[in-house]
């Protein structure tokens, strides 16, 4: 790709980028959120048309006007958000748009064909299964098979590890190496440095739409890449000095709760959390952490057990009472629970506090002037990049939305007593991640009890004072300074001594 420039209204997403990939390599494409990685690859896959620039494949200039044309050029893309139809079967998803000839659709024959194809590609899968019932890792396998079925020679993987467990990531990397050994070319879009270094042959870094450089994976390291990505040196967020642990804030006793489908999700959890402490809860997604967070924030009714907040019994409260008690929440699903997409930045900043003075005035009027002043203050303090306080929040980047949510949990006057942060940096880039973690530490230094629920082991290990691992709805205490090994074992239900 030569001199690719892409303008969107008001933004230059790619600025004269030269990007070269050799056949048979795994090439990492690295950059912060909004650096232009996905746009550049979108251009290669025909999703966007470049404002200027040319694309060459095997030395031949090509124009790629649609995904169909990209597929014809043997380019395939596995999107970050899976492009799978969840109520269709695996086989249907794989052959969709690329069905065998003939007018009629022979379910059995196609299933057989797909099963055989999957076995040959060494990515075995049951073709008759409905995609919506597969695990995330298996769905990704379907996506890769779909791309391979279209005979792709160049595979673009857009942040494929963002949704995977460590085990699934390992399996993906094995599959990627096998594909490379078959002569396929893989472009791996990512922002986790460790992963890029462990799997890629060469790495290209983008920063704010511009090419920074291309490095051999063997000749570079994490700090150098981070510097290239951000433009300055990044110091990871850690607690300076010892945490000052205070009184017990939260006590959970034999808590049980059911999940979305009525299955038992929490099997009697007990733990406590003290003021000024950050308690990390690690675990593979779907082991009960979502339900735990929901019970503590009043979004889900427990079926048994007790929750105490500084001696007050808060079992089965409503979210409103939770807020009254100073329980604040950084939700796991930002779009569903963190923000109201149609609302402005200002309105989102006061959500949850809108019903309290000083935002609520006499006769329930919203105190516009107070709200505006508050919004402007928060936007400045938390460096939320937004054209104005009245901009709809949808048009902000994910990182800025998360800054807003963090700004909101700081509360108006009173700091939270208990902060529940669920996957607070999921999908964020290096700088935003560092910022959010720094703020969590800052809050705990100010005396808040912080419950950090995260699937990112590095995150839990970096800022927690104590770590619990959740597995199948039960908690296991890790040692004081646990190794990744130990935590990984606990996450899959094993113990060190077994």
């Amino acid at each position: 790709m030569r001199q690719i420039t892409k303008d969107f209204p008001g933004v230059r997403a790619n600025d004269a980028v030269d990007f070269k990939v050799a056949q048979g390599e795994i090439h990492g494409l690295l950059g912060e959120n909004g650096a232009g990685k996905s746009v550049l690859m979108g251009i290669l896959y025909g999703l966007y048309q470049p404002t200027s620039g040319e694309i060459f494949i095997h030395g031949r200039a090509v124009a790629i006007r649609s995904p169909a044309e990209a597929i014809a050029l043997k380019i395939g893309m596995v999107h970050q958000h899976f492009m799978l139809i969840s109520n269709m079967t695996v086989a249907e998803n794989i052959v969709l748009g690329f069905e065998p000839d003939g007018y009629f659709w022979n379910r059995k024959e196609i299933a057989q064909r797909v099963a055989q194809f999957a076995a040959e590609a060494k990515l075995p899968i049951n073709p008759e299964e409905t995609v919506g019932q597969l695990s995330v890792g298996a769905q990704q396998r379907v996506e890769i098979l779909k791309v391979l079925y279209r005979q792709a020679q160049i595979l673009i993987l857009d942040e494929p590890t963002a949704v995977l467990t460590p085990q699934e990531t390992e399996a993906l990397f094995r599959a990627m190496r096998a594909l490379r050994d078959q002569g396929k070319t893989i472009i791996f879009i990512a922002h986790k440095l460790k992963e890029v270094l462990s799997i890629c042959d060469r790495i290209t870094v983008l920063c704010r739409g511009k090419l920074v450089g291309t490095e051999d994976a063997g000749a570079t390291d994490e700090s150098k890449l981070a510097e290239m990505m951000v433009g300055t040196k990044v110091v990871p967020a850690t607690r300076i000095g010892e945490a000052t642990i205070g009184d017990r804030v939260l006590e959970v006793k034999d808590l049980t709760a059911d999940g979305e489908r009525g299955e038992r999700a929490l099997e009697g959890l007990s733990f406590e959390l003290r003021a000024g402490e950050i308690l990390g809860i690690a675990g593979v997604e779907g082991n009960g952490q979502t339900e735990l967070v929901e019970v503590l924030t009043g979004l889900r009714r427990p079926t048994g057990g007790k929750v105490f907040l500084s001696e007050a019994d808060l079992s089965g409260i409503t979210p409103r009472t939770a807020l009254d008690y100073g329980i604040r929440h950084i939700p796991e699903d930002k779009r569903k629970r963190g923000i109201i997409p149609g609302f402005s930045v200002k309105e989102n900043l006061i959500l949850g506090d809108h019903c309290r003075p000083p935002f609520k005035g006499r006769f329930s009027w919203l105190m516009e002037r107070v709200i505006r002043r508050f919004a402007d203050k928060r936007i400045e303090e938390f460096q939320i990049q937004t054209p104005s306080r009245d901009t709809p929040i949808d048009s902000l980047s994910g990182g800025n939305q998360q800054r807003l949510i963090v700004g909101r949990v700081y509360g108006h006057q009173k700091r939270p007593t208990l902060l529940i942060a669920a996957q607070p940096t999921c999908g964020l880039d290096v700088q935003a991640t560092r910022y959010v973690r720094q703020k969590l530490i800052e809050l705990s230094d100010q005396g808040a009890a912080v419950l950090l629920v995260s699937a990112d082991l590095d995150e839990v290990m970096a800022i927690s004072d104590r770590i619990l691992v959740i597995h199948n709805g039960r908690l296991h205490e890790a040692s004081k300074r646990p190794s990744r090994q130990e935590l990984g074992l606990l996450m899959i239900g094993g113990r060190e001594d077994e």
């Binding site: 896959y45 995904p67 597929i71 999107h79 899976f82 492009m83 007018y103 659709w105």
Partner: protein, 307 residues
């Protein structure tokens, strides 16, 4: 005193089939367009235009078959407008569909006034012939129920079967469903989302036009202003309770057809007209309230896709 068997006679069941026909036709069209992700609440208007232009063509040419073709063309054109507004210009599907209905609602009495000098109804024109099935017509009761009917009645079986085969046994059906479930995924799999949707919406208009001409040329041999009378909307209820599947649409269409036939029959027996006219709508509410079990619409329905 009127006995129950005076009401539930052979003629009533023949009327059931006749009244079910427009519902099944329009609802099958609805199934096709909605499976591709486009809502079409303009079915009512498209039926009305089909009924009107069918009569008009028969009035001018004397040939009811040309009227049928004209009705399908006009229904398809109205649908093409809806498709253009929705697919090309990203309009809200409900608003555009309502627009089609209001155009039809205004155009019909206007043309009727200009051509026949009455905004309420047209002159009587040559209607479609009545067909009987040889052999079957000899069977008592069943023979009387299944004929003689307008040819449009016999078409529904073929159309429902073809629709079912196309939707569930061919790759086009798979693609249509994919477009309606997750347009972006379909697009990245190389399927032309917009073209697929245009075709499906236009087919729904053609079927709605056919449903309309069944009401006019196949039934009364004239056009009257209120003749569609909300059947386009009932067709939507048939489509929903039929869970977007042609065979179930056929079965449920018969239930509604029965309600409609019963309503007309009871009118003839001196029961207050307005009360009886509510029957099909009461059935609609009962069915939609879940008597038929839950149904699941296509996931991307009503959502516009911009490549």
């Amino acid at each position: 005193m009127i006995g129950i068997w005076d009401i539930l006679d052979v003629a009533l069941f023949a009327a059931m089939i006749r009244m079910a026909t427009p519902l099944v036709l329009a609802a099958t069209g609805g199934v096709i367009t909605e499976r591709s992700g486009v809502i079409n609440i303009g079915l009512e208007g498209m039926m009305m235009l089909g009924a009107l232009f069918g009569v008009l063509t028969s009035y001018w040419t004397g040939c009811p078959w040309l009227g049928v073709i004209a009705a399908m063309v006009v229904g398809g054109l109205a649908a093409a407008i809806h498709a253009l507004v929705v697919i090309r210009f990203n309009a809200n599907h409900i608003v555009s569909g309502l627009g089609i209905n209001f155009i039809a609602l205004g155009l019909a009495p206007f043309l009727s006034e200009v051509i026949w000098g009455s905004r309420g109804h047209s002159d009587i024109v040559t209607g479609l012939p009545r067909w009987e099935i040889p052999l079957i017509k000899e069977i008592p009761v069943i023979g009387e129920i299944l004929g003689p009917h307008s040819p449009t009645v016999f078409m529904i079986l073929a159309i429902v079967i073809i629709a079912n085969i196309v939707l569930f046994k061919t790759k086009w059906g798979l693609r249509i469903t994919a477009v309606g479930e997750f347009a972006k995924a379909a697009a990245t799999a190389g399927i032309p989302v917009q073209r697929t949707r245009y075709i499906c919406v236009i087919i729904s208009g053609i079927l709605a036009g056919l449903a309309g001409v069944h009401m006019s040329l196949g039934h009364l041999s004239m056009f009257t202003w209120g003749m569609i009378g909300g059947r386009g909307f009932i067709a939507l209820a048939v489509m929903i309770s039929g869970n977007w599947r042609p065979y179930r649409v056929l079965a449920i269409g018969m239930v509604f057809g029965f309600a409609d036939a019963l309503q007309i029959r009871l009118q003839g027996l001196g029961v207050p007209v307005h009360f009886m006219q509510m029957i099909p709508f009461l059935v609609t509410i009962a069915v939609l309230a879940g008597v038929m079990g839950r149904s699941r619409p296509p996931a991307d329905i009503g959502k516009n896709y911009e490549p």
